[in-house]
């Protein structure tokens, strides 16, 4: 096995990319755990008190690798920081942390641009652990050089099981909306393969939501939509429930009867209560681009034409 040369982290190419910015929040155990953990992990963290100071420091530093904001006490003024950072410094990964009981603010943060939501100290610790440098991916070491490549042996196992048995490799998943779209597309009569059996939240590794969301946020370009048979494990129980409903609906269809007329399958309604439960667990189900006008409506600022009116 060839020894992989030490790879230079492209994310630490300049000072701005090395610096992370933490908007501190008083009396937040999650924030304190983040600050301690990041500094212990060797991440350069600049802590500021307000979002306004964060804007100034971001401008001075030319951006940051991570922007961590405590959103427990965020209001309509403070939430504007997230779309601003998303617009001005797109590579910056926005991480919103909150305390239990403020999950509704986590939803708003998702809508206005947060990439990762950390809703507890445990999730903060998992996020910090995910930043620790790990071994290089096994799939890169498994590829031998062409001149040393032996003759293919029929009994040789393929590389996929090796990669599956190796250390966990962060794969960039599709956006939840793409997964949702793929699941909905499976409902069409032309779908050849039914959906796989959905995975429950308990079956997923604990750190997977944060890691996948982080990997997705750090990806420079959105990955192409994979086929349904190659789709990675779904990270949202809400989407899993939706896929389960689709699978239950489409499973009685006879696969061998290819010439049967296509059935008209009514798409089931999304399981809203389960989606709420998923968000209560602090998972990220994706981000949505909102316009300035939609943001104003979301934050209750529709008094544009009413001078003197208070919100």
């Amino acid at each position: 096995m060839a020894i992989a040369a030490p790879q230079e982290d492209v994310h630490v190419a300049d000072t701005a990319a090395r610096t992370s910015l933490l908007v501190q929040q008083a009396d937040s155990a999650t924030g304190e755990a983040l600050l301690r953990g990041l500094r212990a992990a060797g991440v350069r963290v600049l802590a500021v008190s307000t979002v306004w100071d964060a804007v100034v420091e971001m401008e001075r530093a030319g951006g940051a690798r991570y922007l961590l904001v405590g959103i427990d006490y965020f209001g309509r003024h403070e939430f504007r920081l997230l779309p601003l950072v998303r617009r001005e410094w797109p590579p910056t990964v926005i991480i919103a942390y909150l305390s239990p009981g403020f999950e509704h603010l986590g939803r708003i943060a998702e809508l206005v641009g947060a990439d990762v939501i950390l809703a507890s100290v445990e999730e903060a610790s998992a996020f910090v652990n995910s930043l620790a440098p790990g071994p290089p991916p096994e799939v890169q070491e498994a590829a031998p050089l062409p001149d040393r490549m032996p003759e293919p042996v029929a009994a040789e196992p393929p590389a996929a099981p090796v990669a599956a048995a190796a250390a966990p490799v962060i794969e960039v998943p599709p956006r939840p909306s793409e997964v949702h779209a793929a699941a909905v597309s499976e409902q069409t009569p032309l779908a050849a393969e039914p959906l796989k059996a959905p995975e429950t939240a308990e079956a997923l590794p604990y750190r997977s939501p944060i890691l996948e969301a982080l990997a997705h946020a750090a990806a420079p370009t959105p990955p192409p939509t994979p086929k349904a048979s190659e789709a990675p494990p779904r990270r949202s129980p809400a989407l899993d429930a939706l896929a389960a409903a689709v699978a239950r609906t489409s499973s009685p269809a006879p696969r061998s009867d290819a010439q049967a007329p296509p059935r008209q399958i009514q798409p089931p309604a999304p399981p809203l209560p389960q989606a709420d439960e998923a968000l209560d667990e602090g998972q990220v189900i994706g981000t949505t681009e909102v316009t300035e006008e939609e943001l104003r409506l979301l934050l209750g600022e529709d008094e544009e034409n009413q001078p003197g009116a208070r919100p």
């Binding site: 306004w52 804007v55 100034v56 401008e59 003024h77 920081l81 601003l84 001078p307 208070r310």
Partner: protein
């Protein structure tokens, strides 16, 4: 501090009310108006300006933090506040915390062009 010619003409205005924004642009002249505090803070931090005018009604509850951040970004930048008559104590409080002056709406704001001119002359001399 010596400002460039571009900065001499640049006044950053933080105001969302359309009526008040039109009034300020008529009084101030060349200005850049922003509807939110984060955008105004970014504008102040990004390029030097002649002054900042903040409509306190649009930063209600966070006015002290916004003014402090702007002063942190540009320590010599004069910050003027527009307050309603009932919020005049808040204007006095900001004055103690580093704001250059405050104007009570609706009539007191007429002093703003003269003060900006004097401020610009002073800073040019410096």
């Amino acid at each position: 501090m010596t400002l460039t010619a571009e900065a001499q003409d640049r006044v950053v205005v933080l105001c969302r009310s359309q009526d008040r924004r039109a009034l300020l642009e008529r009084l101030v002249g060349a200005s850049e108006t922003f509807p939110s505090a984060v955008d105004a803070c970014l504008a102040v931090a990004r390029r030097p300006a002649r002054a900042v005018v903040v409509n306190l009604e649009d930063v209600e509850g966070v006015e002290r933090e916004v003014v402090a951040a702007m002063r942190h970004a540009q320590p010599d930048l004069p910050i003027y506040a527009l307050v309603k008559p009932e919020d005049e104590p808040l204007g006095r409080r900001l004055l103690r915390e580093g704001a250059a002056d405050y104007f009570v709406l609706p009539t007191d704001v007429a002093r703003l062009p003269g003060i900006l001119s004097a401020e610009g002359g002073t800073r040019s001399a410096e």
